[in-house]
Subunit: 238 residues, 2 copies
């Protein structure tokens, strides 16, 4: 069945981009059935008519999208440039990550906020929505970029808190994932240039456990994707 | 220290692209030291002179690159189009996958061999070399594309054999990874359009275990990356 992202839906009428998609791409006619999707639930809709730009529909069935182990994971990841950040978002959404907190780390090349800031957030939401919709999963929440210091404060209540580090003593993240306590898990992932010592020390002081991903040197977005895959697929609940 | 990919090295002279890189990018002078890398070992080299296009060097130290849990993994992955295949290669190399066997599955959009075939293999090798070099890891071997039937024959001797499926009954790949037997592991990953029934049946007949990656629907390249991350990072040896 065709799937449509319901950006504007009031229970009886599909409007906006979803309506245009239904009419122009799916060539929907009265009686046709498609799946409408808004990131947390999925509805089976039957077309009952058209009204201006709106597609009138009956809701035949509705279900909440399932929670997955990844839904309770927050990735607090240092902003990356260009396609590497987009890739992180896309794969985090596919892997069912619950929330993404972009970090403007000291060595992040990308900035906390620029002139393109509102556009940027809009674009990030589009990437997340598109990827989740492909995968029939929930859409991750994305926050405004934070400094690591304010993110540490914001995330202090999480049950399992990790900061991925590439040097020094760290426990194995893969092993830690098997022993997560029930509750929210937060994983902080640094920028290409790595955390500063001050950043890792502040995280340790805030109760974040230093964890590593083995002997290989992973690019920042790959570390984030691998961490999400481990929690989503190898966590206790699977 | 700067790292140079040694595509042409005879023990005393660096030639070809590596020599050009050393001269033009690193502006190497006599006495300078850099790391030369060929995908299985790393050498510390000191420049002793120049001879035409060649950079003459003394080998100060040499080490084999470490084997990682991923080194014994073969990803037999259905060819994907464009950037998704390139991404699979890049991330497989970062995660230390030992070998990649491209599969021309029945529903693969990309072809077994085209006019661009030699170029294509060359380009794949470049992507793998670049990604491994970034990560100081071994370069995955890449084979010529095979049909799934001939891949099943070629890979029949592996110790742990899996085919990832998205429908039907499957064991959890994440759980299976914790119980791998010593030896080579093969994971077959299907195309965007999924395996045909004939393909999954042939794999089962060849002793491949049907395994799944949980409730989410992952894109083909994400499934391959997640499988590599699980074996590399959550396998028994880590």
């Amino acid at each position: 069945m065709e799937r449509v992202w319901l950006d504007e839906f009031d229970g009886g009428a599909v409007r906006g981009a979803a309506a245009r998609h239904a009419v122009k791409v799916l060539r929907a006619r009265v009686g046709d059935v498609f799946a409408g999707y808004d990131g947390s639930s999925e509805r089976i809709l039957r077309v009952s008519g058209f009204d201006g730009g709106a597609v009138l529909v009956d809701v035949i069935a509705e279900r909440e999208l399932p929670e997955t182990p990844g839904s309770r994971l927050t990735l607090a990841a240092a902003l990356l440039k260009g396609r590497r950040w987009d890739l992180l978002l896309e794969k985090a959404a596919e892997l069912g990550v619950g929330r993404i907190v972009p970090l403007a780390a000291e060595r992040s090349v990308a900035k906390l906020a620029g002139e393109d800031s509102p556009d940027r957030m809009e674009r990030w939401r589009r990437i997340l929505g598109g990827a989740s919709s492909q995968c029939a999963g929930r859409v991750p929440q994305i926050c405004e970029p934070e400094s690591p210091a304010s993110a540490l404060k914001m995330l202090s209540g999480a049950t399992n808190k990790f900061i991925l580090i590439t040097r020094g003593t760290a426990e194995s993240f893969a092993s830690a994932v098997r022993e997560l306590e029930d509750g929210e898990t937060v994983v902080m992932v640094g920028p290409e240039g790595d955390w500063t010592d001050a950043e890792t020390q502040a995280a340790a002081a805030a109760g974040f456990r230093a964890a590593g991903l083995g002997p290989l040197i992973l690019r920042a977005e790959t570390a984030a994707i691998a961490a999400a895959a481990l929690v989503s697929l190898a966590g206790k609940d699977v």
